[in-house]
């Protein structure tokens, strides 16, 4: 791995962090509406995963999608514009925070109904199998999503039809305010894969290098076996589920501990410096540059036009009557 690749990972992680922090400010200012699910604390997960996917590998995730969107190559300003509901946004202001996508980048969104995108992922992998394309569909979802029927049906189908899907569960310990063990029969989510005889693995999601390695192995297995693999990624959400979460379900101490001991940015920063891949100064410089990038993104979004009123009925059908 080249130095610039290492730095690019850091850049993406810090970019996600700063975009999210900005978003939370803009939300408080009332410039962002609806739900806003921040990815802060989980940056290493999507950054590590997407860093090893090939361009033909498809990516689909849930509503906590800003990080994945950025990793998949949606510019910060386009993400920010979507958050502000502008015509320049990823979904031209129609989708908002939960529905970002960039099909050209093979990123299929951004889905807000818990678990409902898993069957879609199976179908995408079916297309690739049908067309003889050697691509993997990477489908990400939360721990809470593994309790809904869609999860069961999709995993079963992927195994029965030997579909090249890499199922990735971001286990951040909670589904909204419900701790995993209060909602799931098994706390080790990977155990669920056993019910389908789908090979599985579990990795520390706060260390981007570990996530990267585990994903690489998983992708190889999928390509080799031409059948699904299940990867559980252990991580933690530093912020509330969405904005305005009372957070009665966990103590401030618990959150503090994770922020202090397990910050994916801190861990990777240390890794880069300790291994003399780069200096702290370089990283500071990179952070400053990224900060600038985010400020520009906000300006771009704020100065972008709203979607035109006359376009309200655009995009309902490909062939309207």
């Amino acid at each position: 791995m080249e130095k610039n690749e290492y730095l690019e990972l850091f850049h993406q992680m810090i970019l996600i962090r700063l975009v999210e922090e900005q978003a939370s400010i803009l939300y408080q200012q009332g410039k962002i509406g609806g739900f806003l699910h921040l990815y802060i604390g989980q940056e290493a997960v999507s950054t590590g995963i997407i860093s090893v996917r090939r361009s033909e590998d498809r990516v689909i995730t849930a509503y906590r999608d800003h990080g994945v969107a950025i990793n998949c190559g949606i510019p910060a300003k386009v993400v920010m514009s979507e958050l502000l509901g502008k015509a320049t946004g990823a979904s031209e202001g129609r989708g908002g925070s939960m529905h970002m996508a960039d099909v050209k980048q093979n990123f299929w969104g951004g889905h807000a109904i818990v678990g409902a995108h898993l069957p879609l992922a199976a179908g995408m992998a079916l297309s690739d199998r049908y067309k003889g394309r050697d691509a993997v569909t990477i489908c990400m979802f939360g721990d809470g999503a593994t309790n809904i029927g869609y999860f069961h049906e999709a995993l079963n189908l992927s195994k029965v039809w030997n579909l090249s899907v890499l199922w990735i569960c971001e286990n951040n310990r909670y589904g909204m305010g419900t701790a995993v063990e209060r909602a799931s029969a098994v706390s080790e989510i990977r155990q669920k894969a056993e019910g389908y005889c789908i090979p599985n693995d579990c990795v520390d999601g706060m260390d981007v290098m570990k996530v990267r390695q585990a994903t690489q192995n998983a992708l190889e297995t999928v390509r080799k076996d031409k059948s699904p693999f299940f990867l559980e990624v252990e991580t933690y959400r530093f912020r509330g589920h969405s904005m305005g979460d009372p957070e009665r379900y966990r103590t401030p101490e618990e959150v503090k501990r994770w922020q202090n001991d397990e910050d994916p940015l801190g861990i990777y920063h240390k890794y880069l410096v300790d291994n003399q891949i780069c200096t702290a100064e370089e990283l500071d410089g990179l952070e400053k540059a990224t900060n600038h990038e985010v400020q520009e993104a906000v300006q771009f979004a704020e100065s972008s036009p709203e979607p035109a009123a006359e376009d309200l009925f655009k995009y309902i059908y490909m062939q309207p009557e």
């Binding site: 509901g85 202001g93 129609r94 809470g144 809904i148 009372p246 309200l312 009925f313």
Partner: protein, 323 residues
């Protein structure tokens, strides 16, 4: 009489019924520790405990399905589906199980179940999370569908729903929880299946329910300043549909505007209009108007979303057209 919010009224109804009857319990996502995603059950978990205020996994079909099983066997569950959009994931159990077991087994089984859920747009939650599909649930005999528009009705109807031996889908509005209204302290059970005149008038009849009652009443006040007295009829229950007060009012005004938050095509307004024409044909002086949501999946962008949702101005405009 106390002036309380819709949220408080619903919360009180639940609290009082749970105090009254130990067989009443709540189950749903985030109803317990979190206190309800709309804070309706705040404090319930600490007071009633985890056995009676049960946080569930994200399993809508099984939230309703298990609640049906509990209802069949002697309990009175109040199952919460966080929003009506997620009720699509429980659709089979709501319309095909809860609504049919009593009939299909010739009365051997009864389903004293309340499913509380939240309908409506206007909160920039985008297409999958902003719907008002109340009408599709009202299409199924065997189910009762209640959708109150005032705190007093919400409290009285929810209590009746909990005591009812039939399955009731109780639809709240996402943007009405802060609405304040008079609610008497003394218990007041409002019967399910009774429409109500919420504002007297002689010139035109506005028929509506839930969130659009608030908007319609505002429109009526505006119109009053122009000397037009609109009578506002609140359906309150979509099934069984009580046309009594609607027809009574219409036979007096001979003009009607039906207002709903959901999409126009195959909506509530279509049924109500058809029933008026069928049952009061000779009283019709002008084509009945329907005010509803524009036929588009609701966009996130606030301007576009508001453009798609029915506004007070649309009601006023329609009223002027029927006059």
């Amino acid at each position: 009489m106390a002036r309380i919010t819709m949220r408080e009224a619903i919360s009180q109804a639940l609290w009082e019924e749970m105090e009254r009857d130990p067989d009443v319990f709540i189950m749903g996502e985030e109803v317990g520790v979190w206190g309800g995603s709309y804070a309706v059950t705040k404090g319930f978990y600490d007071h009633f405990g985890g056995e009676r205020v049960r946080d569930t996994p994200i399993s809508e079909a099984t939230i309703v399905g298990a609640a049906i099983g509990a209802a069949l066997t002697g309990l009175r569950p109040v199952a919460e589906i966080m929003t009506i959009n997620f009720a699509f994931s429980a659709f089979e159990h709501i319309v095909n199980q809860a609504a049919k077991l009593h009939y299909m087994f010739a009365g051997q089984m009864m389903v004293p179940l309340v499913i509380r859920t939240v309908s409506g747009g206007g909160r920039q939650l985008a297409a999958t999370h902003s719907q008002t599909p109340d009408v599709i649930f009202a299409h199924f005999p065997g189910l009762k569908v209640v959708a109150p528009g005032t705190p007093a009705d919400a409290k009285g109807l929810l209590k009746s729903a909990i005591r009812s031996d039939d399955p009731v889908l109780f639809i709240e509005s996402a943007t009405l929880y802060q609405l304040r209204g008079e609610v008497d302290e003394t218990e007041n059970l409002i019967p399910i299946g009774k429409s109500k005149i919420q504002r007297q008038g002689k010139d035109v009849t506005i028929i509506t329910y839930s969130k659009m009652l608030e908007t319609s009443l505002k429109a009526a006040d505006q119109l009053a300043q122009g000397g037009i007295e609109a009578e506002v009829v609140d359906l309150r229950t979509l099934r069984p549909l009580d046309m009594g007060p609607v027809l009574e009012s219409f036979k007096k005004t001979n003009r009607a505007v039906i207002v709903e938050e959901g999409w126009r095509s195959y909506g509530v307004g279509a049924e109500v209009a058809s029933r008026i024409y069928e049952e009061a044909f000779d009283y019709v002086d002008a084509p009945i108007q329907r005010v509803a949501q524009k036929e588009v999946p609701l966009p996130y962008n606030r301007t576009l979303e508001q453009l798609a949702l029915p506004q007070m101005e649309d009601i006023i405009k329609s009223v002027r057209e029927v006059l």
